[in-house]
Symmetry: C2
Subunit: 166 residues, 2 copies
């Protein structure tokens, strides 16, 4: 098979391309950023329903998964999951960490090749799955917890951003 044939096939036969999947993820991350912004400062750190975590705690989890996760996948270095360095005490600090994670994700993503997505990686030394499944988990877990954040905002009488705006 020559390179031209391979390139044409790659372009025309993807269910989703690598670029589209990154845009999809970063679009979700952009929406989550606006959900963080929508929280009143105090309630971001204190409000919860039914004994669940605060949105600050959920944000710390999302920060501990996204950038460290993609870094592990690309560098093939198995590091344990840890939230200590992703915790902060103000919304502004969380937003700063969020934006840094955005670039880290873009940088590592550009080092991934299409054939890497089907390879298995032992994420955080705990989740040994194909890379595509780990990445979809990053996205789904964020959408799941952000859905929780929407209920917190509504319960606080705050209008959340539109779900379809990325």
């Amino acid at each position: 098979m020559n390179t031209t044939a391979q390139e044409i096939t790659q372009e025309t036969k993807q269910v989703i391309s690598q670029d589209e999947l990154l845009n999809h993820w970063q679009g979700h991350r952009n929406l989550t950023r606006r959900v963080i912004e929508a929280f009143p400062e105090k309630e971001f750190f204190e409000f919860s329903i039914g004994g669940m975590r605060t949105f600050a705690e959920l944000t710390a989890e999302l920060l501990a998964i996204g950038a460290p996760g993609i870094k592990g996948i690309v560098t093939q270095e198995v590091q344990p999951y840890q939230e200590d360095s992703t915790k902060a005490t103000t919304k502004a600090e969380y937003l700063e960490k969020w934006d840094k994670a955005t670039s880290v994700i873009n940088d590592y993503w550009s080092q991934l090749r299409v054939e890497d997505f089907s390879k298995t990686f032992n994420l955080f030394g705990e989740y040994e799955f194909p890379v595509i499944q780990n990445i979809l988990y990053f996205i789904d877990n964020e959408v799941h917890h952000r859905g929780q954040g929407y209920v917190y905002l509504r319960a606080l009488g705050v209008e959340p951003p539109f779900f379809w705006e990325r």
Copy 2:
């Protein structure tokens, strides 16, 4: 390009294969089914937080999107969005509709080809996007609303199913 080269490339170069994406979607649908089951009958139809919809109303929405959406994409028939036929009055009826939708989705999915995912379709006559974006929207919207359902369950003192169990 000969067929063999094309087949090899399709197998080795997918970010996500068509089968994997269906399994991913149906895995999420299976989890949502268990969230519906976890609700007490009365609260499924009556409980909500912050003026949001009940989980029965959200389920009617998910039923109005998934199977009708994929049917539209495959048949190329533009039908308006409608929830009337997806509404029911008992959890058992919703679960029956859910299981019917599971087969409908599998049936239409098997008629999709890899090259269809990048084609544009005017879903419900309102959302003119590439098919892959519409399908990802079906999944994300379900994860989002199900996240909302998790908060309702926790507020009701009911333990929701584990998020990672599909």
